[in-house]
């Protein structure tokens, strides 16, 4: 029971991280029908920027743990969001009228550029997050000990997802994003500036991905310039699992994948941990290519 509970909470935390990354894939896919292959690297950049800001600014000392972390998250999100917008302007926007494959190739190129840039700047070896950021507190839930960082990560990702959901579902601009994802021409006939919508999507998606990178750094304590590859693939799986283009789907898919993976690693074999995600991906593609919530996407007239 204790083992199960630990794996479940761990799976939820990791799943929340997958979900945050998956949202970037799904939002960009929604408006551009493009898989942003450089998205995993934006996640990596978030992890590295987080490390740099953490070690260079001593935010915790001056602001306390809570506000220090909050400011750190906001800065990472802002910076990675900005890089996301630039990525679109430089690598994708000039190709909007070109065949879709051109943008895909451009995305792969951008991914290589980002990965190499991180390696050149930070080096190829693992980098270690400071270990004394959070007090090593363990919190008892139902009599079982759960590390504070795990709870904080889960709460932060749930908060971000909730905020995004509210924004997308309940605000005028969020509705405009959904409309542009469904029919760009019709959206323009409503007076929506679709270029602005795309820019916004490239701000929000990478910002969430960057936050996820920071969370991984804080959770596992070490980061590497290739980490975006495996996390990107898993988050992409999560997006497919929930139905690509579907925002609630990415959230559900991420959490579900995290939990499946954690439980699978515990009860089947730890050696198979990474393979589980791809097994899930293959099953989905065979049995439910539209994803779990995909019907809502396919519901086009």
């Amino acid at each position: 029971m204790e083992e199960f509970f630990q794996q479940l909470t761990n799976g939820l935390a990791v799943g929340g991280i997958y979900a945050l990354i998956a949202l970037g894939y799904t939002m960009v896919y929604g408006v551009l029908k493009l898989i942003n292959f450089a998205h995993g690297d934006l996640f990596t950049i978030g992890a590295y920027l987080g490390l740099t800001l953490l070690t260079s600014m001593s935010l915790m000392d001056s602001l306390g743990v809570f506000f220090g972390l909050l400011l750190l998250v906001l800065m990472v999100m802002g910076l990675v969001g900005l890089i996301g917008v630039l990525l679109d302007q430089i690598a994708y926007k000039p190709l909007r009228q070109s065949p879709r494959l051109s943008a895909v190739v451009s995305a792969l190129g951008a991914s290589i550029v980002f990965q190499n840039a991180v390696m050149l700047i930070y080096g190829a070896r693992f980098q270690v997050y400071p270990q004394d950021i959070l007090p090593r507190i363990v919190i008892n839930i139902f009599g079982m000990p759960v590390p504070l960082i795990r709870i904080m990560i889960l709460m932060a990702s749930i908060f971000m997802m909730g905020a995004l959901y509210f924004f997308i579902q309940r605000t005028k601009v969020g509705t405009a994003i959904r409309a542009a994802a469904e029919d760009q021409g019709a959206a323009r006939l409503m007076g929506i500036d679709v270029n602005r919508v795309i820019m916004l999507v490239f701000l929000i998606g990478p910002a969430l991905g960057g936050a996820a990178g920071l969370m991984v750094g804080l959770y596992y304590g070490q980061i590497n310039f290739t980490m975006g590859w495996i996390y990107g693939l898993k988050a992409f799986t999560a997006a497919i699992l929930g139905g690509i283009g579907n925002i609630p789907g990415a959230m559900v898919g991420g959490i579900l994948l995290g939990v499946i993976e954690a439980l699978g690693a515990a009860y089947i074999s730890i050696a198979w941990k990474d393979a589980i995600a791809f097994f899930v991906l293959i099953l989905i593609l065979i049995f439910r290519p539209t994803g779990l919530l995909g019907e809502r996407v396919a519901e086009k007239i």
Binding site: T175, E182, A187, R188, L189, M190, G191, V297, K300
Partner: protein, 237 residues
């Protein structure tokens, strides 16, 4: 002259589909553009709305040339289109679609009044306010497309084949509503294949044939013109 289309050329790729057409619209009119499938009617409306690029000629609206104005800014000039095939946002509710129609509006009071008006014109939409519009019938979707366009408070309403695929009774309802909308002061450009119904409604009409205006006259004259009759109203169709 409210809207003036002068020597308009439009190409898709290398293929020119509008070869220099001229169309004028006066304030308060209903002008209909008729023609067979592929004549270039939709392209004309899309050019006005800024959704296709113009390769020659000009579109003038109240002394302003709109040739290079992007689509989302055309709406701000209060020229709004209910496009061919309705193109309502199927994954959004009826109310969300209508609210998007007022996307450019900053006047909440005005938007509220417009919504009231749209629900008055189409009570069916009010009943289905919270339904996903993808689940509406074809006729209801057409009502939504027109209602959504009205939410932007247009001076000129461009309607592309609002009768397409609708049962005759519903067509009559929609056309009566168009008349009512026009009476309230909105200038209407109506593209139709249902020529007889359109001409009964309109003040003037233009007939397009493979990218050229081949006839233009008052609606009455066109209705009694045997050429039009043969070509569009019952002859070879």
């Amino acid at each position: 002259m409210l809207l003036e289309i002068e020597n308009l050329h439009v190409k898709y790729g290398n293929v020119e589909v509008l070869h220099g057409i001229n169309i004028n619209v006066d304030e308060g009119e209903i002008v209909t553009i008729l023609g067979a499938n592929g004549a270039g009617k939709s392209t004309t409306l899309l050019a006005i709305s800024g959704l296709v690029k113009i390769s020659g000629g000009l579109i003038r609206y109240k002394d302003e040339v709109l040739n290079k104005t992007p689509a989302h800014k055309i709406v701000r000039r209060r020229i709004t289109q209910a496009p061919e095939g309705r193109r309502v946002f199927g994954t959004l509710t009826v109310a969300e679609n209508l609210n998007l129609g007022a996307y450019t509006s900053t006047n909440h009071e005005r938007t509220r009044k417009n919504l009231e008006w749209v629900y008055e014109l189409f009570p069916r939409l009010k009943e289905r306010e919270n339904q996903l519009s993808g689940t509406l019938s074809g006729g209801e979707q057409q009502m939504l497309a027109i209602g959504r366009a009205l939410m932007s408070d247009p001076k000129i309403l461009l309607l592309d084949e609002p009768s397409l695929g609708l049962a005759p009774l519903l067509v009559r309802t929609i056309f009566n509503t168009i008349k009512e909308i026009n009476k309230s002061g909105v200038t209407v450009v109506l593209v139709e294949q249902n020529a007889r119904a359109a001409l009964k409604l309109a003040h003037r009409g233009y007939v397009l044939e493979v990218g050229n205006v081949v006839l233009q006259d008052s609606a009455e004259a066109l209705l009694s013109n045997s050429e039009v009759y043969d070509a569009y109203l019952g002859g070879k169709g």
